[in-house]
Symmetry: C2
Subunit: 308 residues, 2 copies
């Protein structure tokens, strides 16, 4: 059982899709990452921050999933980070209606002593300097550092982003962000450029069009499972990252071959996440459902052509 350190937001989300809307519900990158990772045999902890408006039942949810929240700082009198979003009809684009940083504005992550030797560090989307400060606190170089980021930091803190990218093993990024970061339209070329910036492994997330894993000159692809209906895409990328990092921590094997499996597990879990609002689907997800869908993934992608 590997140790997985998860850094990222824990938040309130308010979501509107063509299918309905929610008031403030549980959200945040670290939330989705940790719930997905809890499907595997890992010893995980969250480093994050919330206000004292954060309900006990959400804290209890983490605890019930064996997620260590001793480094989830609760600021007295503070308000939890809040994000309100409205998705367009095709769910491929969205408008952010409200972003209230609240306690997140002064977040200085403190890695707890008992996780300074984590095997895998999963850095959810945050300011690159915040991500870097976590790396700096580790007692020894983790076996694997995975970083997720987004276009906002390319626009507003590019130098800091390029600096932290030098220190990581895997970056997860979406297709448009990969293009923006490298000024290359071809994802093959974009990945090659990103590999030269530091990370030996590049995961490019294409939403409903799947995910690509690049390493050296190898490319592996996992489709998104075709679904009757995508209900709410919120957290799909973080759920992918949680499945990916959780599987790698649990198996303690960062080979390219095993990372292919991690991409499949991440895609598999993301396919559940989008079936309900927010974390709803992930909260009660059973191992048997996960296994059943892995069979579907295999049927979807595996073929038997004799090669010459």
């Amino acid at each position: 059982m590997g140790k997985l350190l998860i850094v990222g937001t824990v938040a309130f989300d308010a979501i509107e899709t063509p299918f309905g809307k929610t008031d403030k519900i549980l959200g945040g990158a670290a939330t989705f990452i940790s719930l997905a990772a809890s499907q595997f045999n890992v010893d995980s902890a969250i480093v994050s921050i919330v206000g004292d408006d954060f309900p006990q039942e959400y804290l209890d949810l983490f605890i019930s999933k064996n997620i260590d929240i001793s480094a989830l700082e609760i600021v007295k009198g503070g308000k939890t980070f809040f994000w309100k979003v409205k998705y367009h009809n095709d769910l491929n684009s969205r408008d952010t209606l409200v972003t209230e940083l609240n306690v997140l504005a002064d977040f200085k992550p403190v890695v707890p002593e008992h996780f300074k030797d984590a095997d895998v560090v999963m850095l959810g989307n945050l300011h690159p300097n915040t991500q870097m400060s976590v790396i700096d606190q580790m007692q020894k170089r983790p076996k694997l550092i995975i970083l997720d980021t987004m276009n906002f930091w390319m626009d507003n803190a590019l130098d800091d982003l390029l600096n932290v990218i030098k220190h990581i093993d895997v970056i997860t990024i979406n297709d448009e962000e990969a293009r923006q970061l490298t000024n290359e339209y071809s994802l093959v070329r974009a990945a090659r450029k990103i590999q030269k910036m530091g990370p030996k492994y590049v995961v490019i997330k294409k939403g409903e069009h799947g995910a690509l894993l690049f390493h050296d000159s190898n490319i592996f692809f996992a489709p998104a499972l075709p679904l009757d209906e995508v209900f709410d895409p919120t957290g799909a990328g973080d759920t992918f990252a949680g499945g990916f990092s959780g599987y790698l921590a649990a198996t303690d094997n960062s080979s390219y071959e095993n990372m292919k499996n991690a991409v499949i597990h991440g895609s598999n879990l993301a396919s559940f996440s989008v079936e309900r609002f927010g974390t709803e689907r992930m909260e009660g997800l059973e191992r048997s459902e996960v296994n059943k869908r892995l069979h579907q993934f295999k049927a979807l992608t595996q073929f038997d052509i004799e090669l010459q």
Copy 2:
């Protein structure tokens, strides 16, 4: 060796992409289909029409690939169908600048006697009634009838399209067209509706995002091979259809399992087609190149997770 009857346009294309432009070069659905199918051990014939402005060297190309052109009608004093297109910078959208139907306006396909017993009929994009007239001329029901179509016929000849669709086994259609035909955004639901219209097999082409095969409740997915550069997407869908139908005719096996392989072969050949203008890449394509890329397809998609 199966008999493959190919019906579709043989044309002049003039193409502009961000990488360059061409004068009139060889194009047309039946052209791309037949060149791709010629990679397999098939006895193929084209039913189509051109004017006497169609160069002998293009006729010789078909003959050199063992494609029977005895039913390629050459209209004296007539002009060959001409299509001029300009692709936008991302190659995912395009403007048709010129469409001159010319001899195609009066095309009445005549299936040659020696192909009225074809095993596989590949109906390239044409007026649905033209496609239907080919089916009506067959001496016996072919083992497999595959139809490609496009949104133009949904807008202008929907009833005729719905009629011919009842008589076929496989439809190949792109994602937007599948949505238009069914009024369903989810491709899973769209495919299910199309299956109820007639075809037991539905192939949804997603361009750079791959292709989906639906049969009963099964789904199979083939990605497009990630390339350094897509040079000209013209003919990619027809090349896919040619590889798909050619492989099925050559193997004389229309099972779902074999159709999965056909989807891979179609995707594989399409990945070459887009590397040069028009038919250039397909004309000299070697079997060894094709086999090498099949290995890449396998490396791209195959994984080894032990299922429970």
